[in-house]
C-alpha cells in the first residue's frame, strides 16, 4: 500500500501589527475603564477569557476584537489555565519583559493553586510561586463576568 506523504504547514513567525494585546473597554459598577490585556491561554479557562474579551464594549461596537501592535502597551497579564513546571520559566520570562506598571490576574483554579491538579507531579501549584499576582479569580472555569469583576479590583489609574 502506498504511503501518502504528509504536508506540514509552515508557521508564521515574527511580530505583526495586529497580534498584540487586546483592548478591553469595561464598565463595572458605574466605573468605566480601558485595559490592554495579554492572555496567556494555557488551557480551558482561556475560552472564558475569549468570551469576556468578545463581550467587552470595544468589541461590541467594532464587531471584532481590537488588538494593539505586538509589543504595545500592556496593562494586565491574564494567566488562564494550568501552568506546568516545564512552562513556568517561560511564564517568568514573559512577565519580566513587561514594562511597569504591570498587573497579573490569575484566572481559574489551576493558575491560583494548581486547582484539581495540585497533587500532580508536573503542575505548578499556583503561578504566584513564579510571578507576583494581583488578583485571583476563582472558578473552574470562572464565568466571563467574573473576569470583569476581577479586573475591576485592580487599582485604578494604573497608567
Amino acid at each position: 500500500m502506498s504511503r501518502t506523504p504528509v504536508r506540514l504547514p509552515t508557521p508564521e513567525v515574527g511580530p505583526r501589527a495586529d497580534r498584540g494585546p487586546i483592548r478591553l473597554d469595561l464598565t463595572w459598577a458605574d466605573r468605566s475603564f480601558t485595559l490592554w490585556m495579554v492572555d496567556v491561554g494555557l488551557a480551558c479557562c482561556s475560552v472564558e477569557v475569549m468570551a469576556a474579551a468578545l463581550a467587552s464594549d470595544a468589541s461590541r461596537s467594532a464587531g471584532a476584537l481590537v488588538r494593539g501592535a505586538d509589543g504595545g502597551r500592556t496593562d494586565v497579564l491574564v494567566v488562564s489555565g494550568t501552568c506546568t513546571d516545564v512552562l513556568a520559566p517561560a511564564l517568568r520570562r514573559l512577565w519580566e519583559r513587561l514594562p511597569e506598571p504591570r498587573r497579573v490576574v490569575s484566572f481559574g483554579a489551576c493558575s491560583a493553586t494548581g486547582g484539581p491538579y495540585w497533587d500532580s507531579y508536573s503542575v505548578t501549584k499556583g503561578i504566584d510561586s513564579v510571578i507576583p499576582v494581583d488578583v485571583y479569580v476563582p472558578g473552574c472555569p470562572p464565568r466571563p463576568e467574573a473576569l470583569l469583576q476581577g479586573l475591576s479590583l485592580l487599582e485604578p489609574g494604573s497608567a
Binding site: M1, V6, D85, V86, W118, D119, S120, Y121, S122
Partner: protein, 181 residues
Amino acid sequence: MSALADAVVAALEPAGASASDGFGPVTVDVPTHRWVEGLEAAYAAGAVFFDLLTAYDLGDHGFAVMAHLAAGDLRDHVLLRTTVPRDDAALATATGVYRGAAWHERETHEMFGIGFTGHERLEPLLLPAGFGVAPLRKDVVLAARAARPWPGEKDPSDSGGRARRRTLPPGVPADWPEARP
C-alpha cells in the same frame, strides 16, 4: 466484531493472537515478538489512521502497551495490545509502520521507562531535564497526597484528636514510608 481485528488475528495465526470484546474497540492481544507484524497486518487491512500508543502498568506482570488504530473513514477501529516484562521493558518501534507513533513512543518511554528499539530519537519530551522517575508507573506515588494532611482524617466524635482507626485518603498506599503515624 471488527474487520480490522479479524485481519490481524488471521495474519498472526497460529501464534495465539486473540480478540476480545470488552468496552470500546475490539482488543487483539499480539505476542510481543510479533508486534510490528501485527501493526503491519492492521495497516494492510486498512487501518491507516494511527490514533495513539500508550502503556498501562500491570504490576508484577509488566506493562501492557496498546496501540489504537482506525480505518480511514473511522468506521472501524481496533486496539492492539502486547505485554512487556517489568525488568528490561523493551518493544520494537512502531515508527516503521506509522511515523506518527514517534511522539507517542517518546512519551511512553518517558512516563513508563519502556524502551522502543529502533526509534530514532528517544529523548525526554514533556518532563523537565533530570526528573529522575517514570511518573506513570504504579510504584511512583503522588507524594503531594501523602505529605499534605487530609482534612477528612478528622473524626468529629474524637473531640479534636486523631481518628482511632486511621483513614487514608484515596491514592495513598498503606505502606507509604512517609505517611504520618
